[in-house]
Amino acid sequence: MTSWHIVFAVVLVYLAANLVVGLLPSRRSSDTVAGYVAGDRGFGTVVMFFVTGASVYSAFAFLGGPGWAFSRGAAAFYILGYGVLGIAPYFALGPWAARLGRKHGYVTQGAMLAHRFQNRWVAFTAGIVSVIAMVPYVALQMRGAGIVLEQVTDGNIPLPLGAAMAYGVVLIYVWRSGVMGVGWTNVFQGVFMLVIAWVLGIYIPLRLYGGVGPMFEQIAAARPEMLTVPGLTAAGDPWTPVGYSSAIIVSAIGLMMWPHLFMKAFAAKDDATIRRTVMLFPLFQLFLLPLFLVGFAGVLYSSAPSDPDAIMPHIILNSGLPAVVVGLFCAGALAASMSTGDALVHGAASIAVTDVYGSVRTRSLSQHDQRRLIRWLALVVGVLAYAIALQSGLSLVAMLLAAYGAIVQLAPSVYAAFLWRRASAHGVIAGLLVGISVTGALLVMPHWKPWGIHEGLVGLAAHIATLVVVSLATPPPPDTHVSEWLSTSRAGD
């Protein structure tokens, strides 16, 4: 048995364990949409904590984090900077949304907004924006899983096969168990990725440099530009302070707008559960520290790979670790990928059915039929994302940035719903369309971007201006409805 066989065996054991954890709860939720999408609103703190933490930190954090630290140095600190800022508003927004969800039965953001603005096209537009952003994000996770497996098995498991194996498991438990499968596997995957990250992050600098301090002293002597912000760009030139700062701002505003994260408010057992989740989130986030340490450990290695996403596997493979440990690392990376990918597949399918299809269908579907449709859609999302993931030469970092630019556009709608009585359905829809168009145009024509500001932020400015102007020119929903809606959201604050 050669070493890649051992690595692969560890990965197979990990995938099998995932399948078991994912399939166990399949009988525990009701045969309704609320059961499949929101777990009958029964998630406790442990599940909520890991669903949130493990869904936020994906293959991008596990591979991209060290990759950025390795190739762009302190630029990676932006990932550390935005997490807490992004989740803080959820301390208020989460319970507000949850109370409305309990009373009115929503399981998605789109349904919540459509009811608030009394217009189903709000759900339709928000739903389309969400799905457009989520599918490439799933593709990114699949590619991450495939890259790791290919690297650690010396190419014996090629990217398409590795991605298909990991996501085959995901699709099976999402199909069978819905959000309950996502929840319990995320507990398993979350613990796994935290432990692996901390163990490797302490061990590797110790082994290669004799400790964290000596490591940074050597980097400071050889490449000091790597250790102060804003760090470097992907091309190795200095990054701009504006680019660095606007990346933090866009990501912080966008973070909890991701539907697969926001809609977990509808799955939480009670308000205190959501608040505890927010309170504990920084503890999860600190796992970026060991991941960055692994990336920095590679800086002084001349033999490093040209693809920064492969740095983490490269360092692991070249530090003489036993094959079992390499296998565990690989499983940790798969855990990071799958814990985000499963929530995205499940969330995108739920939105496509309840918000997009639900807004245009002519006859009503039974709960059972809707649930079945969501399952099929999850399969479609998986296959679509897989097709995108296999396109070589596609820049996945660019896709992630594009996805963030799109998803951040949900923020004005959500905040207007809770904070601005005068906002109207037309204003919200017009704002979404303008925001997406401006962001998309700047993505295609990056030289139009003023002062290197993130395109999502420019789109956001255009979005807010449109929302305000159109809202003031069109009638808001009836005052009694808005008052009732707002007082439900605040009841118990």
Binding site: G81, V229, F281, L289
Partner: protein
């Protein structure tokens, strides 16, 4: 109690927003002195993250007494 906690949280996160982006981060953007072996600016961002745990704890206590 609730009001005070919310005010503190608002102040903290706005301050953090300035402290981890430009130009607020500039005075702290140095490698030396290393803090527990970590470059100073890295430790600076980390400590804002760690500090948020306290602020969230305060908020949580205020809301769930």
């Amino acid at each position: 109690m609730k009001r005070a906690a919310v005010m503190i949280a608002f102040a903290y996160f706005i301050a953090m927003g300035f402290a981890v982006t430009f130009p607020g981060i500039r005075p702290f953007n140095t490698i030396e002195p290393l803090v527990f072996g970590i470059p100073f600016v890295f430790a600076w961002v980390l400590s804002w993250v760690a500090g948020s745990t306290l602020v969230f704890f305060l908020l949580y206590r205020a809301y769930n007494e």
